[in-house]
Symmetry: C2
Subunit: 208 residues, 2 copies
């Protein structure tokens, strides 16, 4: 659930305002996806919601505030799934496999917000990007961590740089947002299966 930045509303009206806020985020995400962040105005967001543009300022100070929340929520939601996947029993290679499967699932369920996350992060000032990505836990660090663990325990090949490899693996998985579509979810299992076969064979040490 998303947090409303301006919380000075009376308690009695809180529910509908939270619903409205959630609608604003959904509509803004769709418009950012279709037209890009730069190409979307607050006026258009208001129009699509059937409200006055001025009403938006009850929730935000600027279009950038909306983008920040959209990207922050997308990041947090995906990380939660990944974190549970990373706790699976077994070797680091097993954890890596579970993380790959979870991340593809997460992208398939959130194709549009994943696209906005990947394409529009650059539209935020560096400070805001750091706020979203700079926590103790983030995607690249999680992949780098499991790769390092696998290299130490001997299940993952040691001739690779874990940081660059994490970037490559994560980028490869993220690239599926371009062609994974909710309406073609029948293929999700096949996609997960192909990714794990290719990447796990590509990253395992001999005999693993």
């Amino acid at each position: 659930m998303s947090t409303i930045p301006n919380r000075n509303q009376p308690a009695a009206t809180r529910k509908p305002r939270e619903e409205r806020w959630s609608e604003i985020l959904t509509v803004a995400t769709e418009l950012f996806y279709q037209k890009g962040y730069e190409g979307t105005s607050l006026q258009e967001i208001a129009e699509r919601l059937g409200i006055m543009k001025g009403s938006l300022y009850y929730y935000i100070r600027s279009k950038e505030d909306i983008l920040f929340v959209v990207l922050n929520e997308a990041h947090k939601a995906g990380l939660e799934r990944m974190t549970s996947a990373a706790q699976v029993e077994g070797t680091a290679l097993d954890r890596l496999r579970a993380m790959i499967i979870a991340h593809i699932r997460s992208i398939a369920d959130n194709v549009i917000s994943t696209a906005v996350f990947l394409n529009e992060m650059k539209s935020l000032p560096q400070e805001s990007q750091d706020k979203i990505l700079g926590g103790a836990v983030n995607y690249p660090k999680m992949f780098e961590q499991v790769l390092r663990e696998g290299m130490e325990e001997g299940t993952i090949r040691q001739d690779l740089d874990p940081k660059l490899t994490a970037t490559i693996v994560l980028g490869s998985l993220n690239s599926t947002h371009r062609w994974l579509h909710p309406e073609r979810h029948g293929n999700l299992r096949k996609v997960q299966d192909h990714f794990t076969r290719i990447l796990i064979s590509g990253l395992a040490s001999d005999g693993n």
Copy 2:
């Protein structure tokens, strides 16, 4: 070299017009990259070139004409490199390796036009997309072809769907446009090396 759609100019003025056209494409590509296609106006393209907006209509009928040429050129240029790489001597696995190396090089040399190609293809009508991608040769088909050949000759594992695998490999390589930057080209060799190690081990049949 790009083709000027409107060719009715007198021969004497051809050279400067070709230069101008090339400038229009460069400036438009940069703006589409920074602000998105939707977020960029012909007015801005003209302003950045220091010309009147009206002068643009000497070259194009609409902003969409520019996008079409930008994407078509990007596609053709990359395909040429890939085609030479695909002609390397050896097994299909060797050819796949050469194609991976060539494609990463090509992306590193054209980070901005690659990003515009990947992000803005959806902004063109389907018919124009088909014109660009629908030729006898295109990226996905080239990767699918070499994978099929490797499966037949036994150098590439046979438990994968060649079409889906081609999509995965190409998407993985393309995802590097997000973090491969011309100023960090010192790392290009390392990136190519990591991709080939991971993908070739991931795709080779046992013993290859």
